[in-house]
């Protein structure tokens, strides 16, 4: 049965991968008109395209390349038609210096662009907006004036592309939606069948592989061969798995137009839940849930002797499927803002600027703060802030950060289910611990700064702080931390660096929870005095890379900011030495019990470690 399951899983995976190549792509006039917002951009797009509309492409690479070419040609045309050209600059220069000295004013612009209609009216307005501050300024000579003017031209033309043409973010979105909508052929015609094969097939195969585990011996710790198997000891299977995950995240975040075939498979599912066609994020959420459910079942079977592990696993699966996946989609269906109600800032780094909450697009003109989403949106804002300032400290005080990290959190949930086979790969060295402390707290500082600047912009209406655009800080954070670190490294490196790379080295919320856990909490892992035999199972299986044994063998309770309370150290301990507990703060830090000499009174001297 296991073999059959593995074969079914691998076949489904193969179909899934091959399905990326099963599409043909043809863009139609109608589609362009439906997709684009402004009729002007449609016109430019049609004017620029060559051998794109109604041409059939055999793969998404050729198709998106053609799209790229068209967008770029359309932008060039727009700039040529409406942008400021060298000729324009020269003409303004001539007019402004006709009387000898440089005299640049609104009337010069009126002379240069006398026409009442586009393009003259447009150019006049753009120059007025961007170079109005130069009116009446004194310049040594014409060249100095032109130099100044020329520095403004690129910005004017960029703005032009942003307003009338296709700026980069728009191109990214359009490439995705046009590629998806232009798909024809077997992937489109057979998408239900393919979806069943890919998603149901892989789940069925995986479950057939996993379920017989129930009959494999009595309940108990099953870690045989973990360091002897190529999938769990950084062997070739682990490398391939890691490569696949890393590739998936890179495409998902930066080149979603190449995986539209996968997204297309889920249109039906998405329509039935939210009423909208699937996006790449729906695909991601859907696969995330499937992975957690299937691997969660594996987790429950593996640790079926432990109620703590079983209940915890059910909890993370519930919060992922209900809170992170279904409820937000249903909110959208009800015309309410999309929100994962269990996601907490600063893990939820765009909580304060995610498009519905504090919308500063409206501010740009008016400088007015807008809270979008109506009454529900406001409640969500209050809920989110309450979690940050009340929920986190209070719950961490009573239960430790585990209430979130290994009972509720989606990232933690994936780590505890999909990532469980890799927990032993985390680095336990002192050096790794040092890197961890620097890195995770730096990310926390980064997140706080970034959010502070956002709120500054929100309340002051000013878009720059000390010459730095606040939006650019957000973008840098989103790229470096939100996508590259949390996604590509955080999950992609499961089979190489263990399942909590993100939680351990990067998550700013984990850092915040950890600070509370370290200094004000009732949670600790109690060590059963002298029973430790230093075997090392606890350290080996600690996903956070804590050298648990170092504490256990000296009888010292484990209180570490990074501990997510997964409870595996306690489960794998062959001598019943470790127990996760909440208790009075007094006596929580108990020092090294075993290093206190037996029946000898003296001063303690510490051994360096």
């Amino acid at each position: 049965m296991r073999k059959a399951g593995l074969i079914i899983f691998l076949c489904s995976l193969t179909v899934f991968l091959v399905s990326l190549s099963l599409g043909n792509y043809r863009l139609t006039h109608d589609l362009v008109q439906q997709t684009f917002y402004s009729p002007e951009s449609v016109e430019y797009f049609f004017a620029a395209e060559q051998q794109l509309i109604d041409h059939e492409f055999g793969n998404q690479f050729a198709f998106t390349a053609a799209l790229d070419k068209t967008f770029s040609a359309a932008n060039s045309r727009i700039v040529a038609d409406l942008g400021i050209t060298d000729t324009d600059v020269q003409r303004i220069g001539d007019l402004a210096t006709s009387s000898g000295a440089v005299n640049y004013s609104e009337s010069i612009l009126a002379q240069a662009f006398p026409g009442p209609t586009a393009p003259h009216a447009f150019k006049k307005k753009a120059l007025f907006d961007h170079t109005g501050w130069m009116f009446g300024r004194e310049y040594a000579d014409k060249d100095a004036f032109l130099a100044d003017l020329n520095t403004k031209v690129p910005a004017i033309n960029r703005q032009l592309i942003a307003d009338k043409g296709f700026p980069d973010p728009a191109i990214k979105d359009l490439k995705f939606s046009l590629t998806k909508a232009s798909t024809i052929g077997i992937i489109k015609d057979q998408r239900l069948l393919l979806a069943i094969i890919c998603f149901l097939g892989s789940c069925l195969g995986a479950l057939l592989y996993i379920l017989p585990g129930i009959k494999e011996g009595p309940p108990g710790i099953k870690n045989n061969h973990i360091f002897q198997h190529a999938s769990t000891n950084r062997g070739w299977i682990g490398m391939i798995t890691g490569g696949f995950l890393i590739g998936f995240y890179i495409l998902l975040y930066w080149w979603p137009e190449y995986i539209t075939n996968w997204v297309l498979l889920l249109d039906g599912v998405s329509l039935s839940i939210s009423g909208n066609p699937a996006s790449q994020w729906f695909l991601y959420g859907f696969m995330y849930c499937l992975a957690m459910v299937v691997m969660g079942i594996r987790m429950i079977i593996k640790y079926r002797h432990s109620n703590y592990q079983m209940i915890r696993t059910v909890s993370v699966i519930f919060f992922q499927v209900a809170f992170a996946f279904l409820i937000p989609e249903i909110l959208v269906r009800l015309n309410q803002p999309y929100m994962d109600l269990k996601n907490i800032w600063p893990l939820d780094y765009d909580f304060f600027f995610n498009g519905w909450l504090l919308n500063y697009d409206g501010m740009q003109q008016e400088g007015v703060a807008v809270i979008n989403g109506g009454r529900v949106g406001f409640l969500m804002l209050v809920w989110g802030i309450a979690l940050i300032i009340v929920g986190v400290p209070v719950l961490v005080y009573f239960y430790g950060k585990r209430w979130y990290c290994s009972w509720v959190c989606g990232c933690g949930g994936l780590a505890e289910t999909l990532g469980d086979p890799y927990r032993q790969l985390s680095d336990k060295s002192l050096n790794a611990w040092k890197v961890e402390r620097w890195l995770i707290h730096s990310v926390l500082v980064f997140a706080v700064l970034m959010t502070g600047l956002t709120l500054y912009t929100f309340f002051s209406g000013s878009w720059t702080v000390m010459g730095i655009e606040t939006v650019s800080i957000q973008k840098a954070y989103g790229f470096l931390i939100g996508s590259a670190f949390a996604g590509v490294v955080g999950t992609g490196f499961y089979p190489l660096m263990g399942n909590r790379v993100w939680c351990r080295f990067g998550c700013p919320l984990a850092a915040y929870l950890g600070l509370v856990q370290k200094f004000r909490s009732r949670f600790r892992i109690t060590v059963n005095k002298g029973q430790c035999i230093s075997c090392g199972n606890c350290s080996a299986y600690c996903e956070m890379g804590i050298d648990v044994r170092w504490y256990a063998q000296r009888g010292q309770n484990i209180i570490r900011s990074s501990c997510v309370g997964c409870g595996i150290c306690s489960a794998v301990c062959p001598r019943g030495v470790l127990s996760l507990e909440n208790g009075p703060e007094k006596g929580r830090y108990n020092g090294d019990v075993l290093n206190q000499p037996i029946h000898v009174q003296r001063e303690e001297v510490d051994v360096l470690s």
């Binding site: 011996g217 009595p218 309940p219 108990g220 710790i221 870690n223 045989n224 061969h225 973990i226 360091f227 002897q228 198997h229 002797h305 432990s306 109620n307 703590y308 209940i311 009573f398 060295s429 002192l430 009732r522 109690t526 059963n528 005095k529 002298g530 029973q531 035999i533 230093s534 075997c535 090392g536 199972n537 350290s539 080996a540 044994r549 170092w550 063998q553 409870g567 306690s570 794998v572 062959p574 001598r575 019943g576 127990s579 996760l580 507990e581 909440n582 208790g583 009075p584 075993l594 290093n595 000499p597 037996i598 029946h599 000898v600 003296r602 001297v605 510490d606 051994v607 360096l608 470690s609």
Partner: protein, 444 residues
């Protein structure tokens, strides 16, 4: 500053080294022929089973030793020259010492069985034994393990993890019945069988058979049955490794004889751990206790004695632990296989036969003397406290929840054992006042 030389880098020798460093600025050298670094001997089985690699079994990072100025030497001590206070190493080097600590550990027992030196016949004690076992068990179709002790059951589990069929012979009825009471011994026997091990109780080895290449091909039991196999694990106990001490003229019996301060017959030379035999052991304790915990306590004690803080050995209340396949075992205090006269034994076992609690107490004053747990974890501190303070059985039962150390959400069995007590002692029933933990309840 004095020169301290320690022979053996196991738990006793290394604990001595660590505490000497804590207590003094002496120069410390640890010599081992086995491995470069200290590793946890108790974890050897997990390397074989793939739970961990050798690196994971090292309790301290390699950088720990230079940082704490503990010199590690990979060599073998050939001779001790007591007069000039020097030891000679196999490499030809010599080292002077002011104090010498022997922590040379144990060796596996063999009892002169015919064929015990055949290829594929071995014990399991050292890292080299593990490597040998790895080689000896490649592509074999059956293994025989001998001996009802902890290493035997571990070896059976190791072989089982590699899907090698195991025939397991033990001399007694019930596993480890020399230290486990019959109910617990039978529970372990059941557990071993539940994992598919072919367990033979009350059966012994008569002869090991070899083939023409000197490789084991089977065994003959004392009742004449022949069992074909390609591997024989001899795990019939260990004895102190005293060759060096004996050759150096130290006083020995089964082990190296030491006083309360772990001094041998020669005052500058100490012995701790498996190899040491106490001339005058503390009350209720055996002269040789080859277990991890005593090794650790002895190492700590000898360090104090060497560093000018003379202290007699006091291991405190006996405790030990083990894991038999999936059943964890913990013992605190005095639990004999058969209760001594005047001792009563309160025993509860769950219906599945995989968990039990035993509390031994005196019949006369009802004070509790020991706890034996199978499949349930109890707090050492709490159990010790009750034993040390002569707490009565009723008081202990009322507060038994305070001893529970199982993970959260686990079923608690304290009520069951209290009910068992009340069933046995009608009238004046005990009520369980405290559920799990010293820390139960959020707002306490």
């Amino acid at each position: 500053m004095q020169q301290i030389v320690i022979v053996g880098n196991g738990i006793a020798g290394i604990t001595a080294a660590r505490f000497i460093r804590k207590l003094s600025d002496h120069s410390i050298t640890v010599i081992s022929a086995e491995t470069d670094h200290f590793f946890s001997r108790t974890a050897l089985m997990y390397i074989y089973m793939g739970h961990m690699t050798y690196e994971h079994t090292k309790p301290y990072e390699n950088g720990f030793w230079p940082k704490n100025r503990i010199d590690l030497v990979r060599d073998y001590v050939e001779k001790i020259d007591k007069a000039s206070k020097k030891i000679a190493l196999r490499s030809g080097k010599a080292l002077s010492y002011d104090h010498l600590i022997l922590a040379t550990g144990s060796q596996s027992n063999t009892f002169g069985w015919p064929g015990q030196n055949l290829k594929g016949v071995q014990g399991l004690y050292s890292y080299q034994d593990l490597e040998l076992m790895e080689a000896n068990t490649e592509n074999i179709s059956r293994a025989v393990v001998l001996g009802g002790g902890l290493i035997g059951v571990e070896m059976a589990e190791m072989l089982h993890s590699r899907h090698i069929p195991v025939t397991y012979l033990i001399r007694e009825k019930g596993f480890s019945s020399h230290f486990l009471p019959p109910e617990e011994a039978n529970m372990v026997s059941r557990e071993i069988r539940d994992h598919g091990i072919d367990l033979h109780e009350k059966r012994e080895l008569a002869e090991i058979l070899g083939d023409e290449n000197g490789q084991v091909r089977g065994i003959i039991t004392n009742d004449g049955a022949e069992i074909p196999c390609q591997f024989v694990g001899l795990t019939v106990g260990v004895h102190p490794n005293i060759d060096l001490a004996k050759a150096s003229g130290l006083e020995t019996d089964k082990g190296i004889l030491v006083n309360q301060h772990f001094q041998t017959s020669h005052p500058d030379i100490y012995a701790v751990g498996d190899c040491a035999e106490l001339k005058d052991p503390p009350e209720g304790r055996r002269p040789i206790e080859p277990i991890w915990y005593t090794g650790r306590i002895q190492g700590k004690t000898v360090a104090h004695n060497i560093c000018g803080q003379p202290v007699a050995y006091d291991p405190g209340i006996w405790f030990n632990s083990a894991k038999f396949f999936d059943i964890e075992y913990q013992v605190y205090g005095d639990i004999k296989p058969k209760p001594e006269a005047g001792v009563r034994s309160l025993y509860w076992e769950d219906s599945a036969g995989k968990r039990s609690i035993r509390i031994n107490y005196r019949g006369d004053d009802e004070r509790v003397i020991g706890f034996n747990l199978m499949g349930i974890r109890y707090r050492q501190e709490v159990c010790e406290h009750w034993i040390k303070n002569n707490s009565g059985i009723r008081q202990v039962l009322e507060n038994l929840g305070a001893a529970n150390f199982d993970p959260e959400f686990f079923r608690q069995y304290e009520a069951d054992i209290v009910a068992e007590f009340n069933r046995q002692n009608e009238g004046n029933p005990v009520t369980l006042k405290r559920k799990r933990g010293l820390f139960a309840g959020i707002f306490r």
